[in-house]
């Protein structure tokens, strides 16, 4: 059984998606349990796979018994073992948390929603596990197409925002496909490991260089790296809360994983950092991304949109960290994939709870919220501290690695941008906390009501428990950062990077 984990984590959600869409016709109440079982099996396989990788090293799974490079192979090493675990856990927790809000937001569409949800997770897990460049493109489009559908289910402006995302996302995926085409012409192979073996003789080839740059731009479009970020804020803000808390933590992070995979495995760090000599300008782009993301977030008067701009800044963290070209920077980037997925999930689950109770997420709606939803706001404070980077929450440690990487590489602008963005995050979150904790609740319009406490109206337990698990996870991952780095990330980065 444990031999088949790599196949199970893709096939079980894929088949369940079809079963769910069928079950939706029979009885809508069947959909949720099937989705839970499917994603539970996927999460179980991912954790099992990570434990096996820690034991045995890299696992190669040949689909259908065809040998690579002819057949498609799944390669699971420490890097994607870690990312798989994070993706499946986030998807599973969010699924539990989103049950109530889906029933509230679109009671007659639960079947289609869970179908798209499970299919999207299939795509994301497939992107992470696959070892084939073209297979990655197909799974990328599965994740993207279901994502457009999920985002468009939201409020009034959602379809237009999703359509804009669709234009940009399609251009991004097409660029990636084009880059793979150039690689195929140059090497005659689509298998990532095989390409990496053939490439060293071709490093001077212009086609290979073009392939790398085109792939990179495609992936940047997909991850909303600053000048290419325009689709993200609206698409995520107007989405239904259950969809945005799945897509916001995972899609950008998985695309960062793809970029790191391209650098580390396909093109090798030697080519990316030494021969191409583009790391400096890319780190500068990341600096601009971080600063602009922070400034644009400052301008927002609405919690969910503010968070989307923070995602734009966080993408800058990870791209910059990966392109610093040293071990500390790469460690920080990989660690930040894990941490940022959890932090963003925490923040968006809080937004989900607020929307569930208040039907709004503008700053004006949040006044005095802590008396109404004390547990949700408690978790929000932990998430906010982690996004700011306060120890012992996990956000501190990945920032620490990123900053020490920046100092080692002599990229002081990147260090300054990280500090600047942390300071802006302090302003952003303390403003929200101030509104929630110290301003009187706005719903009762009388003046005399202030002196007796608001009745508590917390979100249901199925939404609170996953939120607490994530909030506890933020602290736990922070406390065990040393172990994660020593046992997993150290092996994920090739020895060549020092």
């Amino acid at each position: 059984m444990s031999q088949q984990y790599p196949a199970l984590l893709v096939i079980v959600p894929l088949l369940s998606a079809f079963i769910i869409s069928g079950a939706g016709w029979v009885n809508k109440r069947l959909c949720f349990p099937i989705a839970v079982v499917a994603l539970g099996v996927a999460a179980y396989s991912c954790i099992g796979l990570l434990l096996r990788v820690l034991d045995e090293g890299v696992i190669v799974y040949k689909l259908g018994g065809w040998d690579p490079p002819m057949g498609i192979a799944y390669y699971v090493d420490h890097l994607n073992g870690l990312v798989l675990t994070v993706v499946s856990m986030v998807a599973f927790l969010n699924l539990i948390a989103s049950k109530k809000s889906i029933e509230q937001e679109f009671p007659d569409k639960t079947g289609p929603f869970y179908t798209l949800y499970v299919l999207m997770v299939t795509g994301l897990l497939g992107i992470v596990v696959t070892g084939d460049a073209f297979n990655l493109y197909v799974l990328l489009e599965i994740a993207a197409l279901t994502g457009y559908g999920l985002l468009a289910m939201g409020e009034e402006r959602a379809p237009l925002a999703a359509l804009n995302y669709l234009y940009m996302g399609t251009i991004g995926a097409c660029f990636y496909l084009l880059g793979v085409g150039y690689l195929y012409i140059a090497t005659g192979s689509l298998n990532m490991v095989d390409i990496a073996h053939i490439l060293p003789d071709l490093y001077q080839s212009k086609a290979v260089m073009a392939a790398f740059i085109i792939c990179l731009i495609g992936v940047w479009l997909k991850m909303a790296f600053f000048p290419l970020h325009a689709w993200l804020p609206n698409a995520y803000t107007f989405a239904p809360s259950a969809a945005s808390s799945l897509i916001a933590p995972l899609v950008t992070k998985v695309m960062i994983y793809v970029m790191i995979r391209l650098i580390l495995t396909v093109f090798t760090p030697e080519f990316a950092f030494n021969i191409l000599a583009v790391s400096k300008p890319i780190v500068w782009l990341a600096v601009i991304a971080i600063v602009m993301g922070a400034i644009l977030a400052l301008a927002e008067r609405n919690l969910k949109k503010m968070l989307t701009y923070i995602i734009v800044a966080e993408v800058g963290y990870m791209v910059g960290g990966a392109w610093l070209g040293n071990r500390a920077g790469m460690t920080g980037a990989i660690l930040h994939i894990v941490n940022d997925a959890l932090m963003t999930l925490c923040a968006f689950l809080v937004v989900g709870n607020i929307v569930y109770k208040l039907k709004g997420y503008a700053f004006d709606d949040l006044k005095g919220l802590v008396r109404k939803m004390p547990f949700t706001m408690g978790a929000f404070v932990i998430g906010a501290l982690s996004l700011i980077g306060v120890p012992p929450t996990c956000g501190f440690f990945s920032k620490w690695y990123l900053i020490s990487g920046a100092i080692q590489a002599g990229q002081y602008a990147f260090m300054a941008a990280l500090l600047f963005s942390s300071l802006v995050n302090v302003v952003l979150f303390f403003r929200v906390i101030e509104i929630c904790y110290y301003e009187p609740f706005s719903e009762d319009h009388g003046h005399g009501h202030d002196h007796h406490p608001e009745p508590m109206a917390e979100a249901p337990l199925t939404m609170l428990v996953p939120l607490f698990i994530v909030a506890a996870g933020l602290v736990l991952v922070g406390l065990y950062t040393g172990d994660i780095v020593k046992h997993i990330i150290e092996f994920a980065i090739p020895q060549g990077i020092v």
Partner: protein, 134 residues
Amino acid sequence: MGDLIQIVVAKYNYWIYITLMMIGLYAMIVKNNLVKKIVGMNIFQTAIILYYVSTGAKKGATIPILEHGHDGHGAGAHMVHAVDYINPLPHVLMLTAIVVSVATLGVALALAIRIYNRYNTLEEDEILAQIREK
């Protein structure tokens, strides 16, 4: 100048795909009508499909089917020369890419219908004006 013409003529398939791709990209950026943008997107995707298909072609080669694979003395009796056959792999990949592009087109048109139902127009500036009014 002579060199340039030679480059253009020798690699004309690349020039065609680049031209098509730029037409698609132009439509997506400049056009105001959402459906025209979707059409531009489809041209963009088709350009890449054409590019892939053209890379599999070889001069004087035929479709990759073994003509006399089974007669005579069993399989492998004839040597297969790869030069005689066009490369089928890019074509097979593009079957998948065509499916993807059809699916994308479907989703895009479905979204366009939702937008039309809500705003009663597909012109982007009119939609944005309606959003601003609210």
